[in-house]
């Protein structure tokens, strides 16, 4: 019946009016009192008229009304939203309380802001790098990474022929596309600009489900495997706006890319940045343009060994990843047999996008995971701190609570009040924390290695991060507020009132709780410190590792001559001429060039070898890492030749192919005896070993020795290889940059020197994940110690203040200041001791699990450990414990000194 009376808008209108009244209930309340009063007056008058005495008339009227107060209460409940009203009152009251204790409020809010801000920052990175699916694509959750797997289990990129087999044979996938991230130079000759882009299979946009905002993407006719047939490009929204002023007429026009004309067919939507999370690409060109744009020979597109394509697959609706994986594995197994010369023992695997070992994810996944852990640690310390502060304050407010309880306030009501106050604190802290998040995010970005990746990490605060921060804030509220709230609810009325607020003696339970909180803070700080110490040590150890070459005084610069339309022969000639020019520059001692740079970010390449006189075990991985180097490379790098000779200019295109191998290569494949003159087969031809080089580090500073070999630049260099140019000087490496630039300009004014960087800085990138972990952990560890110190100090200071009277009595009875000092500091140290004991156990466990975390970079992912040393370094534990003891002692000493200086008489008179 009732429900028929209310139409929906009417009930909404009622809700709105109640909400409004809840915020300002005053006037309506006065109005209703008057109405009720007039009601009573009329009733009384009627009653008197019917012959009652005035007293009886009033009594009857009140009875019939059901009580003045009760009626008013029932009306008020209908007029407002009672829940909301009390909440408003709680908030108003909480704000007043906060304003009355500015020091407490400031410390609590700042502490919370730090904890929440740091956590939100790290989460926003995790969100950008690992969690957020690609922007601007359809159903990103159905996209998967497709990786080839080597016989020894490493994930590696795919080759174009692999892609064709996958594309043509897999039925459970809704398409598979491949991409090859590349640098392009766009524009004319000497004012060409560099841009990051992707060389992609024709179906790339179709598989990702990207629709252009203007023009078109690649059409099905352009999906073909015909080299050079489609000189077209799609450009990013960002590039379109920054370089073409968002002019729609660019569609259909040609732009000059790597000295070739490409027609812009469309503009990608603003949200689309390419197919690697957190990286921003500006240009997409069909991979089949490789021969035109980069001078890559057409046969290389058909070379299964040329693995430079990242695969992205779209799962067909209704198919599980396991089913697709099974189909892929079966196909890969067939391919491994059919193409045994190249793919023996290989397999393939589908991974969620964020597990891709390439790009930022592979690099940052490990450090970010650790960071998140540490953030949670810091957040726990923050919670313990705020809980402590609240507890201390709850004690001060005991009288207030007791009085309110005595006046009839419900315990639930008091509990809610305390929780509301905590919520206010955390909300303010969270707001402040979020406000500093972008700033901290930029600081984190500054720690990124220079120039290696084109990251689009201008992480704006998004809903994920906000929701996360809000969740963290809520959890903090509960964690930090629940103890004080419980205490408020438990306040024992009789004891409190009888003691007249002399609470220092009574709250034993509370005292224990606070002690536990302080001890746990110390424990958490110890964990943070120990981890920071271990990482810093690991970083220091790794940096001290001798890489086996000398990176000092070497200037490294990389050329992308292909983008200038150089043919292979022209590139080789350019390198030789540049080398000759530079060798005559004063101060330059060596000049060399090579394909790869050791300990860098670039992938390292290998060749499948057969070794004369070595019979591989069944399934043995004969893919061996290599570098293609010019004569003089080993000398420049100070890598000693142990036997034989270096390459020279006679090792050219027409002479017998030669090779230099490293010590581990010799030990593993060649046994004893002289190895000079032995034969090794690769690239379809036989090489003769002419030298043995000392082992050095190639991928990670702490890698174990790997077989490695060098081949001469003139004999093996191919169009798809890099060109890294090395100049060793007597002085600072950057001093020869001017000479390098002018030498390059003399040879060809249109070639620019890209990324000149001291080799020492460049290889620092290989330490990046460790550096990141060590730096941030040191910062966060310091923060944890600082917070623990604040917590310890505030609790000790508070405890002393509570015991003023007791200490006064002790001193009146003859205790000397020193005794008081000992007493208080002793208690502080006892708490610290308990915390340290618990923390040591915890830290050991945490360190052991963290030590297992690996990272990988875009080089072949032989998992490198983030933490260099085993988790149990007694010196680090002892050092951290000592530091915390000192902090604990100081935190206790300051209030103790104050206590010792108390005038006994004044202390006794307090209260």
């Amino acid at each position: 019946m009732q429900s028929h009376l209310i139409s929906f808008p009417a009930s909404l209108r009622a809700l709105w009016l109640r909400l409004r009244a809840a915020i300002d209930p005053g006037r309506a309340n006065r109005d209703f009192s008057a109405e009720l009063q007039s009601h009573l007056d009329m009733h009384i008058e009627d009653n008197v008229r019917s012959g009652m005495t005035l007293k009886e008339a009033r009594r009857q009227a009140l009875i019939q009304l059901g009580g003045f107060e009760q009626t008013q209460q029932a009306w008020r409940e209908r007029n407002t939203l009672p829940m909301l009203e009390t909440l408003c009152k709680d908030i108003q009251f909480g704000l007043r309380t906060m304003a009355r204790n500015p020091a407490f409020t400031a410390v609590a809010i700042l502490t919370l802001a730090i904890g929440i801000g740091v956590t939100a920052t790290v989460f926003s990175w995790i969100d950008t790098v690992l969690l957020r699916p690609l922007g601007g694509v359809t159903d990103p959750q159905h996209l998967l990474t497709l990786e080839a797997v080597t016989a020894n289990g490493a994930y590696i990129p795919n080759s174009y022929p692999d892609y064709r087999d996958f594309r043509d044979n897999l039925k459970l996938l809704d398409g598979i596309a491949v991409t090859h991230p590349a640098i392009f130079s766009i524009g004319k000759d000497d004012h060409a600009e560099r841009a990051w882009g992707e060389l992609v299979s024709g179906n790339y946009f179709a598989v990702l489900g990207v629709s252009p905002q203007l023009g078109r993407v690649f059409s099905p006719q352009e999906y073909s495997d015909k080299p050079g047939a489609f000189p077209i490009a799609v450009i990013s929204d960002r590039y379109w706006r920054s370089h073409y002023n968002a002019n729609p007429e660019i569609v259909g026009k040609t732009i000059r890319v790597n000295q070739h004309e490409l027609t812009v067919v469309g503009i990608a939507p603003p949200a689309f940045h390419g197919s690697i999370p957190a990286e921003a690409f500006d240009l997409w060109v069909p991979y089949m343009e490789q021969p035109t744009l980069n001078g890559v020979d057409e046969w290389m597109l058909r070379d299964r060994g040329d693995r430079n394509m990242l695969g992205i697959a779209r799962l067909r609706a209704g198919v599980t990843m396991q089913q697709a994986q099974a189909e892929l594995a079966a196909l890969a197994a067939r391919m491994a047999i059919a193409d045994a010369d190249m793919d023996q023992g290989m397999s393939a695997i589908l991974l969620p996008l964020w597990k891709s070992p390439h790009g930022p994810q592979g690099l940052l996944a490990g450090p970010l995971r650790i960071l998140m852990g540490v953030c949670i640690l810091v957040l726990l310390v923050v919670c313990a701190n705020v809980a402590n502060l609240l507890l201390a304050r709850a004690t001060v407010r005991e009288k207030e609570f007791s009085t309110r309880l005595a006046l009839g306030a419900g315990r639930g009501r008091l509990t809610r009040q305390v929780l509301t106050e905590t919520l206010l604190l955390t909300a303010s802290g969270a707001a402040l924390g979020i406000a500093i998040t972008p700033w901290m995010s930029r600081a984190l970005q500054a720690l990124m290695p220079p120039g290696q990746l084109s990251l689009s990490l201008d992480t704006p605060i998004n809903l994920h991060v906000l929701a996360f921060a809000a969740g963290i804030g809520l959890l903090t509220t509960i964690a930090a507020g629940v103890f004080p709230a419980m205490q408020a609810g438990r306040t024992d009325l009789n004891t409190r009132l009888n003691e007249g607020g002399r609470s220092g003696l009574a709250g034993r339970g509370r005292h224990r709780l606070r002690s536990a909180l302080v001890a746990s803070e110390v424990a958490l700080a110890l964990v943070a410190l120990v981890c920071a110490g271990l990482f810093a040590q690991g970083f220091a150890e790794t940096s001290r590792i001798d890489p086996g070459f000398d990176p000092n005084h070497v200037l490294l610069s990389q050329f992308s001559l292909a983008t200038n339309g150089y043919s292979l022969e022209q590139r080789k000639l350019f390198s030789r001429r540049l080398k000759a020019k530079l060798e005559s520059v004063s101060g330059v001692t060596n000049v060399a060039y090579a394909d790869g740079v050791p300990l860098g970010f670039e992938p390292s390449w290998w060749e499948d070898l057969q070794i004369d006189g070595y019979v591989p075990a069944s399934g043995e991985n004969m893919k061996t890492f290599r570098n293609v180097v010019s004569p003089g490379y080993l000398g420049l790098m100070h890598i000693p030749l142990l036997d034989g000779r270096d390459f020279n200019e006679q090792d050219d295109e027409n002479s017998q192919p030669v090779m230099i191998v490293n010590q581990t290569f010799v030990q593993r494949f060649l046994g004893g005896g002289s190895v000079i003159g032995r034969r090794v087969h690769g690239w379809g031809q036989w090489f003769r070993i002419v030298g043995v080089a000392k082992d050095s580090k190639y991928h990670y500073p702490n890698e174990s020795p790997v077989p490695y070999f060098y081949v001469p630049f003139r004999q093996i260099y191919r169009a798809d290889m890099n060109l890294a140019f090395y100049v060793r000087t007597k002085l600072e490496p950057m001093t020869v940059l001017a000479a390098l630039r002018s030498a390059v300009h003399e040879i060809d004014p249109s070639v620019t020197v890209f990324n000149p960087i001291p080799l020492k800085d460049y290889i620092g990138a290989s330490l990046y994940p460790q550096k990141l972990a060590a730096t941030l952990l040191t910062i966060l560890g310091g923060l944890a110690v600082l917070l623990a110190a604040v917590g310890l100090y505030s609790v000790m200071a508070y405890a002393v203040a509570q015991r003023t009277q007791e200490i006064g009595v002790r001193m009146a009875l003859g205790a000397r200041p020193r005794d008081v000092l000992n007493l208080v500091v002793g208690q502080g140290l006892t708490l610290t001791g308990w915390g340290l004991a618990a923390g040591a156990v915890l830290a050991f466990g945490v360190a052991r699990s963290v030590a297992a975390i690996e990272f990988t970079d875009s080089a072949m992912g032989s998992g490198a450990k983030l933490m260099g040393s085993p988790a149990s370094n007694p010196a680090i534990y002892a050092g951290a414990a000592l530091l915390l003891c000192a902090v604990g002692a100081l935190a206790a000493y300051l209030p103790a000194r104050r206590a010792a200086s108390i005038d006994p008489m004044r202390a006794l008179r307090t209260e």
Binding site: M1, Q2, H4, L5, I6, S7, A10, S11, R13, A14, L17, R18, D31, F32, A34, E35, L36, S38, H39, D41, M42, H43, E45, D46, Q64, L65, G66, G67, Q70, T71, A74, W75, E77, R78, N79
Partner: protein
């Protein structure tokens, strides 16, 4: 007074609306008295319960209120039916009659059978 039934749950709003329709603008006390009279003093009405009900109807826009002078010159708040209140009354009355008719059929089944 004790053995009189309380106003049935949910019918108070209907009674208020009908009262206002019959009597025109009326103050709370007057409405309470009128409901009691109309029931032939068979219903027990706690006058106080009327006010939350009036407030609810006013929040929903079925009635509006205004301060005015009572018959014996007292300041009192007068309630009157709004247009939407009139519609609400028609609908509620129809529903009520239908409901009582249905219940009535259950209680006197002999005629149909």
């Amino acid at each position: 007074m004790g053995d009189k039934p309380d106003v049935w749950q949910g019918t108070l709003a209907l009674m208020v609306l009908k009262t206002l329709e019959t009597m025109g603008p009326q103050h709370g006390y007057g409405i309470a008295r009128r409901i009691e009279q109309t029931s032939g003093n068979l219903l027990s009405l706690n006058y106080g319960t009327l006010y939350p009900a009036l407030l609810k109807l006013e929040q929903e826009g079925a009635i509006s209120s205004e301060w005015g002078m009572s018959e014996n010159n007292r300041k009192a708040k007068f309630y009157k039916l709004t247009r939407s209140g009139r519609k609400q009354l028609e609908r509620a009355a129809r529903d009520w009659e239908q409901a009582t008719a249905i219940v009535g059929r259950f209680l006197s089944p002999a005629e149909e059978a």
